[in-house]
């Protein structure tokens, strides 16, 4: 009995060359889920029967010499805000509990077409709003490294699933850091691609101008392969970039000789000392690998939080208005339609979602638009301009992903502002529409994982993966 390969690349290769059956691979991962997801609660639903059937179909096709997809047999976990035809897609909210979409998200059908096998839908902060997955209506997900602590959010389920060995790769979504921050807290690789690189069709919208789908993986190469697989122009998404996608995989081992790595000298303080230490070590490692460190400034950086927490809730307040009990999802009885809206949405949404709908509606409302939403759009421009200036001096920028390692449950739920501050280093990239990746780099307090963030300009995934690959290699990585 051969060892089950644990990376996307190795699994795909082993299945394609018939060294192992797709069914064996899927059975392995389903067994891991069975053994430990009761404790971790990474999944809202495990689609075991379906996964086994898909694996069997792949094995049958291979046996009869038929062509299979390039990633045939690779198990994948999907964040439960990605529409999966016929499989409940809840966004971890009561208002969509049990709702089965009549269509697939583009990334879902793309991955299926490549032969990947979905093992289930993962838990998230309700409607992707949060940084700890404590806002899920179906209970929190626990950090596999320390189950008394959060896995981060909002894609906590997807991050934990990969960290716990429930799947070699998973998909999450990132609006203000919701892939990168949980990746850092769970010790895995997490990528937020350039805005527009990956189709948003079928991703349940939170903030339309900020949302992007991206992978979690245990290696940078796997992350690069999956990012490439889901990237590319989609005519169903008007914001999809109509350009060819270059190869990302080869960048991972290309090295960083001659590259310029930006170090931000005016970064807001507040990171835990160990986090700062790991970052310093990361810079040293890259210098050793032949890169040059360049000091850059991002003077408007700290205002990004304010801009984000006005823009994102504003767009969300509009995107979530469709949950009205008329066509799908939960409906509470009432004597008239207006009353029905009020009671349904009050019962269906959790507190954080309500808070953001209120902030967002307030920011857009008559008399407040210019002071809030209007101003935030201008701050957004300043942040983008800061990045443009910095990238004229360097190829990528490096900074922490999260200011802290995974924190205990309950630490921040009563203080929304302290929760929002978790995203201080990730938000600016979303506002600018750029790319960024979190790479695990050592540990911090209590031996918990620390992530280092590599930021790149729009469509800068190649230099980004080069540096990420070098960081991984520097740790004796894969």
């Amino acid at each position: 009995m051969s060892e089950i390969p644990r990376t996307v690349v190795d699994i795909a290769d082993a299945v394609a060359t018939k060294q192992i059956k797709a069914r064996e691979v899927v059975d392995h991962y389903l067994a891991q889920i069975e053994a430990r997801d009761g404790e971790i609660n990474a999944f809202n639903i495990v689609t075991a029967d379906h996964a086994r059937a898909q694996a069997d179909a792949i094995d049958a096709a291979l046996a009869s010499g038929e062509k299979v997809g390039a990633l045939a047999g690779v198990p994948v976990a999907l964040k439960d805000n990605l529409c999966t035809h016929g499989v409940p897609t809840t966004c971890s909210s009561k208002i969509l509990e049990g709702w089965k979409p009549p269509y697939d998200a583009t990334v879902v059908s793309t991955l299926r077409g490549l032969g990947t096998i979905s093992v289930g839908k993962t838990n998230l902060d309700e409607f992707a709003m949060g940084s700890s997955t404590e806002n899920s209506a179906f209970g929190p997900t626990r950090n596999p490294h320390d189950t008394s602590r959060v896995p981060g959010g909002s894609s906590g389920g997807s991050a934990a699933a990969v960290a716990a060995g429930f799947a070699p790769v998973s998909l999450g979504s990132d609006t203000g850091g919701s892939i990168r921050q949980p990746a850092a807290l769970c010790g895995v690789v997490g990528v937020k691609p350039t805005y527009g690189l990956v189709s948003r069709y079928g991703l349940v919208a939170f903030a339309s101008s900020l949302d992007q789908i991206g992978p979690f993986a245990t290696t940078v190469t796997d992350a690069a392969v999956i990012t490439h697989a889901i990237a590319g122009y989609d005519p169903m998404d008007s914001t999809s970039i109509p350009k060819d996608v270059p190869d990302f995989r080869s960048a991972v081992s290309a090295g960083v000789a001659g590259m310029r790595i930006g170090r931000v000298t005016d970064l807001p303080e507040g990171a835990e000392p160990e986090v700062t230490q790991r970052l310093d070590e990361a810079f040293i490692a890259l210098e050793k690998a032949g890169a040059t460190i360049v000091d850059v400034q991002l003077p408007s950086f700290s205002y990004a939080l304010t801009a984000y927490y006005l823009i994102a809730p504003a767009e969300a307040s509009s995107n979530l208005a469709r949950y009205d009990g008329v066509r799908y999802g939960m409906r509470q009885q009432a004597s008239d339609v207006n009353a029905m809206y009020g009671v349904t949405r009050a019962a269906g949404f959790g507190d954080e979602v309500k808070r953001r709908i209120i902030i967002g509606t307030y920011a857009l409302s008559a008399g407040y638009f210019d002071a809030y939403y209007g101003k935030a759009l201008k701050v957004r421009r300043l942040i983008a301009q800061d990045f443009d200036r910095a990238y004229s001096q360097c190829d990528v920028i490096m900074m922490p992903t999260s200011p802290m390692v995974a924190f205990p449950f309950g630490d921040k739920v009563d203080d929304p502002m302290s929760m929002y501050l978790c995203d201080i280093y990730t938000i600016p990239t979303n506002l600018a529409g750029h790319a960024a990746v979190s790479v695990p780099f050592g540990t911090g307090a209590a031996g918990l994982p620390v992530g280092v963030q590599v930021l790149a300009p729009a469509l800068g995934e190649v230099p980004m993966f080069k540096v990420a690959g070098a960081l991984e290699a520097a740790q004796g990585g894969k």
Partner: protein
């Protein structure tokens, strides 16, 4: 025009909750008001910036003229859609009376 961070009151929260069709009881309104006031307090930081010459940024990536040909695409299965609905009749979505709303 108010500066960012002007105090938000329970009346503001109640009004906005109505606009957003969220039934929130008084206790929660007070609680949210307190939390949101803190958040808006933090947002006062941007009042220090001179934004008079700054253009709003409305697009992450500059695209223009994204258009689709006028060609019919397959529709959803009506049965599948209606079976996911809270209440239907005669192939249509059924809702309680629409009173108190303007079009």
């Amino acid at each position: 025009m108010p500066d960012t961070g002007s105090s938000i009151t329970p009346a503001d929260v109640a009004k906005v909750a109505r606009l957003a069709r969220l039934d929130i009881d008084d206790a929660h309104i007070d609680h949210f008001t307190e939390q949101l006031a803190k958040v808006l307090q933090h947002f006062q930081d941007v009042d220090a910036l001179d934004l008079s010459a700054v253009e709003p940024m409305t697009q992450a990536y500059p695209l223009v003229n994204v258009l689709r040909e006028d060609v019919v695409q397959p529709c959803l299965d009506r049965q599948e859609v209606l079976s996911a609905a809270p209440d239907t009749e005669d192939g249509r979505f059924r809702v309680p009376p629409i009173i108190g709303l303007t079009e």
